[in-house]
Symmetry: C2
Subunit: 332 residues, 2 copies
């Protein structure tokens, strides 16, 4: 099928850019040095490509992602880098034919893991953002508590989410270093082989983590594209121009339900400014002749919540759809 | 099932608030005076309730919504209040066993409708927001063009999207009046029985439109809740507290993929400030004892892009899930 034949809005992945991104990251972080985060693409088709490049451990953010990865035969070593206390959710994890490691950061999450027949955990440590993760001084005590409960403690996890998006590379490196000093301190108390952390923005700056949890690098977005990273923007939303105004703007058929908006408006591949995003529309300025029926490629500002709106992504090369993958890990 | 048994995040609809909203609107705009917009809830279960209250004409924003409404037996009079030029999409519409009316705003969209065997159209007029809609002076010419092509022109449509959210009621009324003067001018050229427009914020201020396209009133969001409207907030996202910090904040398991973010951060039912929203987390300040496992209700800032992330919505009354509806109109 040609790209022109797709009904819009449609999520497109540029095959060459994806290939470049995956290979560049695999060269920098071969095999188990990278634990790709599936939350960014939510797609076992894409995760399969990452596995074929030698990465057999994956990071997940939701139970559904873990379950879906296991069902796709990608369950060799799944880290749920998130806390879960829902007994039903834990029960789904406990019954999987896969190696599942869960993050814990409190007595309550450890008790839940024990009750849910989880076998392996990492201690999640707060390294600087107000999200999950225990205080560093509690890490050792929690590891002991987990062991007492019969859990194998594989190590520690800490995400420097406040560093990954910093534009200045030196500041990003420094912020990462400070965060990883905290994680190293926790690791000295907890022990274990695993020190899990990092993201696309710090994949080559985080020298403590034994494995980097990068996810966005595969598809990228306009926020990460502004950093000094060697990855290319592979993701876009294909839209059709449905209205052209003599006042110098055009309207295309993708909007708030096709684009994650927390990082602001998307951009147009041609460089035109998007100045209005409504439920099913974007409005953008036009400076070249534009006709109803023309197609535009819209570059999202944030990859993760964009992908989560779509049922499928189309991998394209030279105007041809070479593969269509369901976004099969979305939902909960 | 009790609400406590739901896996989180889960989309909840308060049955009493929904009932109040639907009845309040039906009393103000009985029968065909209201053409409920399904884009806000994307749910044929909820649309069925609206139909049972006497509203048999519906507004849709996407082809998928039209197709889904027809399949659910709610196709008595469906207005696709949007332009479509994709031949495949038009073909799906043309083959439906339903009454389908499509918006047109240019020669190109009229030609597409004719080719797609669409029978009825309205002329979409720009009444003040830079989105679809022809210039008022083109409306008559386009109506003639449509008639020449064999289309029945039912009337005009114009959405005062720049008015519906204005906090000051007098300003909202005045802005609506100015917009509807434009639509009235177009209607004098076009003719027909239908003058379609309006939204939740202007449902009682727009006195020109023969039918009001309100959608958000059924579920509401924190943006509309700040206006002087008689509707209650029926929609929330149920989340589980998964981490509590001694620094005075807690983290719950709903985030950017469960909440439309273009109107900003959500609010918590208890009134606590949400100060961080990540892919699968919200972080909020706590001033009362909060434990891991507690449930919170998160009130989205914008209903439409929130609902579009969820597979289903649970209607709840007195802590009991009385109905679960698939969000079956999402996607494209």
């Amino acid at each position: 099928m040609r790209v022109e034949e797709l009904t819009t809005p449609a999520l497109l992945v540029d095959a060459d850019a994806l290939d470049h991104n995956l290979r560049t990251m695999s060269a920098a972080l071969p095999g188990p040095r990278l634990r790709p985060h599936v939350k960014a693409h939510k797609c076992t088709g894409l995760a399969g490509m990452q596995a074929r490049l030698g990465h057999h451990g994956f990071t997940c953010a939701t139970v559904r992602e873990v379950v879906g990865m296991a069902a796709a035969g990608l369950g060799a070593d799944l880290l749920l880098a998130n806390e879960v206390v829902d007994p039903r959710a834990l029960d789904r994890l406990g019954r999987l034919d896969a190696r599942v490691t869960v993050a814990v950061d409190s007595a309550a999450t450890i008790e839940a893991a024990v009750r849910g027949r989880i076998r392996e955990v990492v201690v999640d440590v707060n390294v600087g953002i107000p999200r999950c993760g225990c205080a560093v001084e509690d890490a050792g005590r929690l590891a002991e508590l987990a062991q007492t409960g019969g859990l194998l403690v594989r190590g520690v996890m800490g995400y420097e989410g406040h560093a990954v998006g910093l534009h200045d590379r030196a500041l990003r490196a420094e912020t990462t270093e400070v965060a990883m000093e905290v994680l190293a301190r926790a690791h000295r108390e907890v022990g274990g082989d695993v020190i899990s952390g990092g993201g696309t923005g710090t994949y080559d700056l985080n020298v403590l983590a034994t494995e980097i949890q990068a996810g966005s690098y595969a598809l990228l977005d306009t926020a990460y594209a502004r950093l000094d990273l060697p990855f290319r923007q592979a993701l876009s939303v294909l839209a059709t121009v449905i209205s052209v105004s003599a006042s110098g703007y055009a309207v295309a058929d993708c909007g708030l339900k096709a684009l994650g908006m927390d990082h602001g408006n998307p951009s147009l591949e041609g460089g035109q400014d998007v100045y209005l995003v409504a439920d099913e529309h974007i409005t953008f300025g036009i400076d070249t002749p534009t006709a109803v029926g023309d197609r535009v490629r819209v570059l999202p500002a944030h990859v993760d919540p964009t992908v989560a709106y779509h049922e499928r992504m189309h991998v394209v090369r030279d105007g041809e759809v070479v593969e269509t993958w369901p976004v099969d890990l979305r939902g909960w």
